[in-house]
Symmetry: C2
Subunit: 153 residues, 2 copies
Amino acid sequence: MYRIGELAALYDIKADTLRFYEKHGLLSPSSRSDSGYRLYNQDDSERLKFILRAKAVGFSLNDIADLLSIEVDKSNRACAEVKGLVDTKLEQVEAKLAELQHFATSLKSLSNTCCGGPDSAEHCSILEALESSEQHIIAKKEQHHFSHSGHKD
Amino acid sequence: MYRIGELAALYDIKADTLRFYEKHGLLSPSSRSDSGYRLYNQDDSERLKFILRAKAVGFSLNDIADLLSIEVDKSNRACAEVKGLVDTKLEQVEAKLAELQHFATSLKSLSNTCCGGPDSAEHCSILEALESSEQHIIAKKEQHHFSHSGHKD
DNA sequence: ATAAACCTTAGAGTTTAATCCAAGGTCAAG
DNA sequence: CTTGACCTTGGATTAAACTCTAAGGTTTAT
Ligand SMILES: [Zn+2]
Ligand SMILES: [Zn+2]
Ligand SMILES: [Zn+2]
Ligand SMILES: [Zn+2]
């Protein structure tokens, strides 16, 4: 049995974080002491490990709640559900990745054209690019014509 | 002269967004009508264009406020300042990119090991990987030993 | 003259994942 | 029996960028 501070120390997180997870339905201590202190057992600790691993691969706490609800009822749930959550998250991550790659490309172009010197920015190529839409400097975002189908972003 | 709804329509944003930018010091209409309506002129419109382009290359509104403060006083500011902002943002974008790439790699591994079928998830490899730290499935994050130097993340 | 569309304001709500605070109760050591 | 470390609660705050609401005033067209 761990008290909140002990479990937190074990995983290098704050006690506040554990209270936060509890408030959001991710992890509740299996018991309380006579004086009301939270007491976590080994199963609780394993569940926390699960949560932290899921976080480490990019799941939000809401996603993790979904994963856990499947996990505790594994035998009545399908692999397809689990894989669906992973694939949805992967799509989200790849979309964000594409956006950031676009940012990185544009920022590199901007950086490369600017002298970066101590002289007046009056003719700074970065400012000029932002003032007048110079398409060869600011990478154009690809125009996908997404059909507004039912899946949420 | 544009009223708020007209300017918003011109750039395909909401009138609310323009009020928000005003409240945050990014763009104020150069005048008001007798009845208090915001009136934006061509310069205001150009400034908005600048804001939206800066957003499109990944700058936050705070960053953009900095860029604008240089822009309006160009001749007394150095190229180095502008390039500094771009390079700082590029570093941030690349850090985030690395994190997301790590997520994507892990999620792909997880997805690949799971059959995704309609059968019980009792032996789902994804859940197993999250339960027991299988390092070959969940990519390990590289341990950079950042010195806690003065720059903010 | 009256409805529709538009505008005004201040302020609250959204999302994510905590982090911090205040006021107070508990526990072990000395 | 008192100090200090730890625990309890609810609620406020952070960052980012809007989005929405309520209650009311204005403009334009029929
Ligand atoms: Zn220069
Ligand atoms: Zn320059
Ligand atoms: Zn399977
Ligand atoms: Zn599976």
